[in-house]
């Protein structure tokens, strides 16, 4: 198993309702999540805004620490591991962010952005490896000298992918990576990801609010609502015979490019 997640809970202080004095009240974002993610499989995590899907993802790569429950990565319990002990593990699980503008340091060149993590883990030939990663995601070598704002949205997202794969991780979390893109860039990025998963033997968790982009990529889909998993099923089953009402509602709400789709 790449990931074993058991009864995962997470609550954060609610700054909006914080009283003038004293601690802020806690709100529960994740309310007991359990699932297994086998190696070399692709998991879709789907839900509306506020469902906790991104929080779940960020807890899996330990950007957040769970309040209760366990996350095992490749057999090791990482739920409360300190940053020092996590560091060697960090190379093995990487993340691609939703907003490619804010996830790329605006004042670093692309080559530097990709090479910095490699340097950090003590690799050699980092500049060369960064360029190889760029080429793998279909960008020209000359992009290494550019700044993020000089790229289009789709190109920036490719840089995000290049940065993640350059470290040769075993697991990648893709957090809403196509939601800000045009349909054609969306298709390109998804196909790129599909190819990379196959060719690099990656395990992937794909967080999305849009069920329609999940079908092609994922083997298994988790549907989340208000911090809970309402359905966990193989992709084909989920799309052909959804069990939970919320899943059915989500599916029915996707506008297909077809005037005859029942939509009321």
């Amino acid at each position: 198993m790449m990931y074993e997640v058991r009864d995962l809970q997470l609550s954060l202080p609610d700054m909006v309702r914080k009283p003038l004095l004293g601690p802020a009240p806690k709100i529960d974002i994740l309310k007991g999540i359990s699932f297994d993610l086998p190696k070399k499989s692709v998991l879709g995590i789907v839900g509306g805004s506020g469902s906790g899907k991104s929080t779940l993802g960020r807890t899996m790569v330990r950007l957040l620490e769970p309040s209760a429950g366990h996350i095992k990565f490749d057999g090791q319990d990482v739920s409360h591991m300190g940053e020092e002990k996590l560091r060697p593990l960090r190379r093995r699980f990487q993340m691609i962010f939703q907003d490619p503008m804010s996830s790329l340091n605006p004042r670093q060149r692309i080559g530097r952005i990709i090479a910095a993590p490699l340097e950090l883990h003590g690799w050699d030939n980092v500049a060369q490896r960064a360029i190889e990663a760029l080429v793998m995601v279909g960008l020209p070598e000359s992009f290494a000298k550019r700044y993020p704002h000089e790229l289009s949205g789709g190109q920036r997202q490719r840089v995000g992918i290049a940065r993640a794969i350059a470290l040769q991780p075993e697991f990648i979390l893709a957090d809403e990576i196509v939601s800000g893109l045009d349909v054609s860039s969306q298709a390109q990025v998804l196909i790129l990801l599909e190819d990379l998963v196959r060719e690099l033997d990656l395990t992937l968790a794909f967080v999305s609010h849009d069920l329609s982009v999940v079908r092609r990529l994922c083997d298994q889909v988790i549907v989340m609502r208000e911090g809970l998993i309402v359905e966990n099923a193989p992709t084909a089953t989920l799309f052909t015979s959804p069990q939970d009402d919320y899943t059915k509602e989500l599916l029915a709400a996707i506008p297909l490019p077809d005037p005859d789709q029942p939509f009321n």
């Binding site: 960020r58 790569v61 950007l63 940053e83 996590l86 560091r87 060697p88 960090r90 190379r91 699980f93 990487q94 993340m95 962010f97 939703q98 907003d99 804010s102 996830s103 790329l104 340091n105 605006p106 004042r107 670093q108 910095a116 993590p117 950090l120 883990h121 080429v135 793998m136 995601v137 279909g138 960008l139 020209p140 000359s142 992009f143 550019r146 700044y147 704002h149 000089e150 190109q155 940065r163 470290l167 390109q188 790129l192 190819d195 990379l196 060719e199």
Partner: protein, 292 residues
Amino acid sequence: MLCSIQSYAMRDTRSEIRPKLGIRLWLCGGWLFCLVLGALFAPWISPQDPLAQDLFAARLPPFWVAGSEPGFWLGTDSLGRDVLSRMLHGARLALIVAFIAGTLTCLIGSTLGIFAGYYQGWADRVISRFIDIWMAFPPVLFAILLIAVIGTGMTSIIIAIIIIDWTRFTRVVRAETMSQSVMDYIASAQVAGRGKFSTMVSEILPNLLPTIVVLLSLEMGIAVIVEAILSFVNLSISTDSPTWGGMIAEGRISIHQAWWVLVFPLIALFLTVLSFSQFGEGLKDRFDPVLR
């Protein structure tokens, strides 16, 4: 193995454009450059001894007004001292104070600001409360009081400026750091395994630099003003070394007989402060990769 991916590789179609330096940067930089040269070589290029009094040559007008004398280009004051020479010597003090006080204020204020903004928690609480208390003092009165206690002199002026103005840097840098810390590139550095301090230095600091440069140049201008104000109230260096503020104070008395004693140092002060602030803005526009 990757032929399938390269088949839809993108083309790089951008052409390299280098922006022009801009008239603003040239003008401000030019004035500051001349000023630095003038200050550096003041003892050699000054037409007269700035301290030499000659009561027979008192209140000579500048060179284009009838009654002027050669050698006294911008006229003389009521003690017959040459205005141009005094301004050149005054520039030395003004610039030394601007560079040293500006840089130190910037270093101290920005360091506190970035720590408060990035580590937050108790570091932020201590620093922020301290700023709140600090800002409740009237700054110039505070500086005057300080100099009255520790005595006049260059060091006192520099310390006074730092004490008055570090909060300006700390507040702005702290706010900017906080808004950068929530960006995903910080999370991304964490995912890559970068430590907290290293993230602050290598990821956040480069994004603060444009703001810091602008603040620093502004601060240098402010330092020139503060120095002038302190000279004006006679709390600067010893009374016999020429300062712009001191010249303005003296010129004020004889404004009706000799306007030039007041006006020329005032123009120099104005141009210098303006140039400092515009120079910083210009540098940012020219060298910030995000704006280019």
